[in-house]
Each structure stands twice: as C-alpha cells, then as structure tokens.
Symmetry: C2
Subunit: 355 residues, 2 copies
C-alpha cells in the first residue's frame, strides 16, 4: 500500500497495523521528519519514497526518492499498490485523494479536508474513513431506521480553561491536548472545535444524513452514537487509538485484538457536556454549515490560514475562529459546480486572508 | 396474542404496545388484580380470560373465565393466536412456555425461570427474550467475532446501604427499588443480585456464550455491551422502559418511536461499579453457575422459597442469599436429563426448604 504522511501519528499507526498484519508497503510519503522516515524505510523497504523538500533528498536512505506534490501524484499513478492511506494534513490532501479515485485504488482516508471541501465531487465507493468518530458510526450501522447521529468531542486543550483568558493563551498551551498527542494543525482545530465541525461535515457526506450533532465526552472512550427512530441509541466504545479505524479501513474487517478492551470498572464514570458557543464560537454556525456543505472549502481555507498565523504568533487564539466566521459570512455565496471551482474558491479565500 | 400476566408491569407495557400498534388480544391471564383486569377486558375485548383463584371468577366482567394452571395451558392450546407473551413470575411460568413451544407459537419471554431452570430443554427457534439486557445484546449483535458480553445492573434497593445493617433491613426497604417499580419477587431478586445471575444464565442459553459478566451502571441507561475480539465494545442505550424490548419481541422489528431518546447532556454522567461479593453474596458462585447451568433449577427453587419466606417476615434479608448458596452446595450433584427431571428437582429442593 501507499502511505501518505507516514511520519505523523496516523502514519505511524498505519505502519503498526502493517507490521501486525504483515502488509506490504510500496510507497512512503513524508514531510520533514527524515530521521523517522529513514527508520521506516529500513523496516518496511518501500520501492519508492516521496518527501516535501528538495533539500532533504540527500538525507534519505533510499535510491528512489523524489519530492513535492507532483511526485506524490505520480507515485499513486505508477504504484501497483491497491490501497492508499491518505494521512496528509490540510487542503494539500485533496489532489492525492482525487488521483487515487481516478486510479481506482481503495482509499483509507484520514485527510479530513478532502470531504470537507469537495465532498460533493468525491466518489465514495472505494473510500473508508479513518477517524474514530466515523468509524464508530459505521460500526454501529444496522438495518434499522436511523433518526440521527452523534459524535463526541474531547473539548480540546481549553475545555476547562477560564473563558476570559482564552484570548491570551500561548501556542504551547494550545498544543497541549488533554487526551492524546496529534499534529499541530489538528490540535488547534480541536481546541477551536473546528475539527469537530469538519467531522460533522464528513459524516454528512459519508452517511448521507444531516441530523447530526456532537457532544463532549471528557474521557474520549465513546466515539459515536447512532440514534434510532425507536428511541434507542447504540454507542461505540474503545480506547482512543487510531489503530482500530486504520485496521478496518485497510483490512475491511478485523477479528483479531487490535486494542486493549475498555474496562468500565476502571474508568469509573463517563461525563457528557454541551459544546458551549461562547467557548467554541465556531459552533454558532453549525446548522448553517450542515445545511450548506458548499461552505466547507471556505471554512477550511480561512481556517488553514488562520491556524498558520496563530502558530506563527501573528494572531491570538480567538482570532482563529473569528477569521473563520468572518470568511463564512463574506464568502457565503459560493456555489462550486466542479472540482475546479473548489481549487478556485480555495485560492480566492486564501489570498484574501493571506497577507 | 395471548398475554400471561397481564396486570403486572410487563403485562401492562405489553398492552401499551398492543394499543400503539393495534394488535389483537385473544386471551388475558392475570392473578388477583381483578380491578385492573376488568379495565383491560373492557379495552381489549379478549375472547377468553384466565385468573389464579376460583373465588375471584364472579368479579370478572367476562362470559368466558376460567382459573388455574390447567386453564392457562388449555387456553394456549385452543387459542388461534400465534404469539404468547409469557410474563408470569417464577417456576410457574415454565409449563406455559413448554406448551407454547409444543403448539408452535411465537414466545415473547419475560418469564426468566423458563430458561434459568430448563434452558437445556427449550427450543429457542420461536423465542424472543423480553428483558432490557438481552434485548440490548441482541440489538448489538453484528457479524463480528464476539469476545464476551456484559450486562448492567442497577444494584437494587441496597446498592448504597451500609453493609453492616443489611441483616436488619425491612421488607418495605427491600421493595424500594432505586430506578423503577416492578413486582415484589423481582425487586427482591434485584436487591440480592440473584436477578442478574438469572439474566446471565439466560444470556448463556440465548447467545450460546459463557464469557459473560455484569457490572453496575447506576442510571440504568446502558443495558448491555458486546465486547468484540478487536478490542471495541458496543453499548445499547435507552431509557429504562420495557416497551422497547416488548415491541421488538412481538413485532420482530420496530421503526417507530416507542421511547423518548436518552439525552446524554441532561444525564450529565454515567457511573460504573463492581458487583461486590460482600454486598451481593450470590456473586461468589457466578463462575460456578455459568460453568454448570444445570444448577439453574436448584438456585431458582431455593430462591423462590427464600424470597417468599422473607416477604412473610420469616427470615431476614441476608438469609435469602444464604439459603440459595446452601442449596447450590447441597444439590450440586444434580444432572437433569429431561424436562421431567427439572420438575422433580424443583420439587425436591422446595420440599427441603419449604418447612
């Protein structure tokens, strides 16, 4: 298989699954963590490697190394591998998803932005989501009449932080997620709840449903609930590790132990909280967005620019959501009619804020 | 359909479902609550009524009333109805279950004792359990490799009662269940945790599995969990009302709203506790019993006698479990080879304690 983003947390977990089930790795695609990449090359012996920057090529211990987006797309096209794990971060992940679909490969999709910005134009027939929440929903689906679906949120780095101090938080504090460690972008998205907004949009595309909501479950053990017409709900409970969704996305099914089961007696209690609009201003527009999924590309572009500015100390934490909300207002008219329109709108929104 | 035990809590809920889905009631079988029975007769217009005692016949507003076990069995045999809801309490429920199977009728089974004492000899092909826990497990079953199953317990009337005072509790206190109101027998069984032991034995017969356990979930909103080989669990969440299991047991499926959905934000938190062997001495023999389901008839007979003695102020609360544990020891050798043996053993155990 082809692993896009092999040195990030999803990539590393994907390789854990590959090790466990002795799966072949044909292509590794990574960013700038060449040290880890070299270890992965030694263990998994891919036939090809693609990295971000030309200047790092000489550090990579492999005879077939290239760099940049075009090389990723070519690697997908040329590889005999039938599965692409797309764990790239951001809008950058869209073209590889489209290429993999074009090449009729199976896609295990961890890149949220592909569906968020272009769900309308993505053929889902060979796509499996890698996300605890969507995995949970899929796991729970049965032949019963579904009323709605609920996913859970951890609440992110500032779940219990004094509201009035939110405007002055440091980058370091924002990157300190209570329940697990992930990449910087998604950790910030988690703190602003934009990540959960993305997941709801993905769920809308994946499950063709708009009655969707999210609640905070502080231990991150329940990942999703399906609410049936009869009044019952079912919940998926698992320790927070991406290995399980990855195993299912790659293997289709899995009857071996991948995670330690949750011991509810050790857990003791579970706590549920509302997603408060004051703490998470993006939640203000949840319904607007779920009723107009075309806004995904706008929200994503504005958010990518804003998060990057925050991580470069150019704006404060609360400005991230402010920019997103403002962009949704300003570009509320967008109506993409093709995948080309998506790239156009993305560029337009970015150039408006990227100054 | 035929409703055995129409004036008890399951019976009343069954008639609620019958009202909601406009189901025909052919036979009503009740005990001594003739006032409620007469209301049910007026509304559902059964063709036949059976009650417990001859002396109550003249109080029943119906032209076709008989009494006693033989009349129940005859009613099952003669009725054209295809479904029997068996909500009788105790060993008394066994013969009607057997008769319904003999007549090839569908059985919605709320009588726990049928499976507990004679699971080995019961053909389950037309049987659906009416019990939140077994319904939950059934609801969750999918085509995945199951590792184990967990059901939940409320903890009963004395969950938080000082341990050292348990020996002196009154009948009134014992009948004061924290989460809902049920018949006397099952409320005491719930306080001793014998009810949960019964449910585990039923689950063993229903799902052909021995890796079974129970935990206390104090709000009684999660009813059962299925634990899969991959390390995930799924949970069934619903407000504690028997109407949902009843609707499924009778209708096979149900895509209409029967219960109000659970609002986890209002619930706030869920709490899990171990079933403590000091508080619930019967839990001491859980594994012994699950490994030898033949003991069901012994446990049930001893427990029926003991609960009845407790409710008649002849023994203390802790003696109920003591008698059950003693009987399991004394009659540990039983090996029923036929349904006749079950009736023999039941009689033997009863006559030993019934003095």
């Amino acid at each position: 298989m082809i692993v896009l983003g092999s040195t990030g947390s999803i990539g590393v977990n994907t390789l854990n699954i590959a090790r466990k089930f002795a799966l072949n790795i044909d292509v590794l695609v990574a960013g700038t963590n060449i040290e880890l990449l070299n270890k992965q090359i030694e263990e998994f012996k891919p036939s090809k490697v693609v990295i971000s920057r030309k200047e790092d090529i000489h550090k990579v211990n492999h005879t077939n190394v290239s760099f940049g987006e075009d090389s990723i797309l070519r690697a997908i096209e040329e590889s005999p591998a039938k599965t692409v794990v797309n764990a790239l971060v951001g809008f950058l992940g869209l073209r590889p998803t489209l290429k993999a679909i074009e090449c009729d490969k199976k896609i295990a999709l961890a890149n949220k932005e592909s569906l968020v910005v272009a769900g309308k134009f993505i053929d889902q027939r060979k796509l499996s989501p890698i996300d605890s929440e969507h995995f949970a929903l899929w796991y729970l689906l049965q032949d019963k009449k579904i009323s709605s679906m609920t996913i859970t949120a951890s609440g992110g780095s500032f779940r219990d932080y004094p509201l009035e101090k939110l405007k002055d938080v440091s980058i370091k504090e924002a990157l300190n997620h209570p329940n697990w460690s992930m990449g910087n972008k998604i950790t910030i998205d988690s703190a602003t709840m934009t990540n959960k907004m993305f997941e709801l949009m993905e769920a809308a595309w994946l499950f063709d449903i708009r009655k969707l909501d999210a609640i905070i479950e502080t231990r991150s053990l329940i990942h999703g609930l399906v609410n049936f017409e009869d009044g019952s709900s079912t919940a998926h409970i698992a320790n927070a590790s991406m290995q399980l969704p990855i195993a299912y996305a790659i293997l289709g099914k899995c009857d071996e132990q991948v995670l330690q089961p949750v011991d509810l007696l050790k857990v003791g209690s579970l706590e549920f909280k509302q997603i408060d609009k004051e703490r998470y201003p993006i939640w203000e527009v949840k319904d607007t967005i779920l009723n107009n999924l075309d806004l995904g590309v706008v929200l994503n572009a504005a958010n990518e620019v804003a998060v990057s500015k925050f991580l470069n100390s150019k704006i404060g934490f609360l400005d991230v959501s402010k920019i997103s909300l403002e962009a949704l207002e300003k570009f509320s008219y967008v109506k993409p009619n093709s995948i080309d329109d998506i790239f156009e709108i993305d560029k337009e929104v970015r150039s408006y804020y990227d100054s």
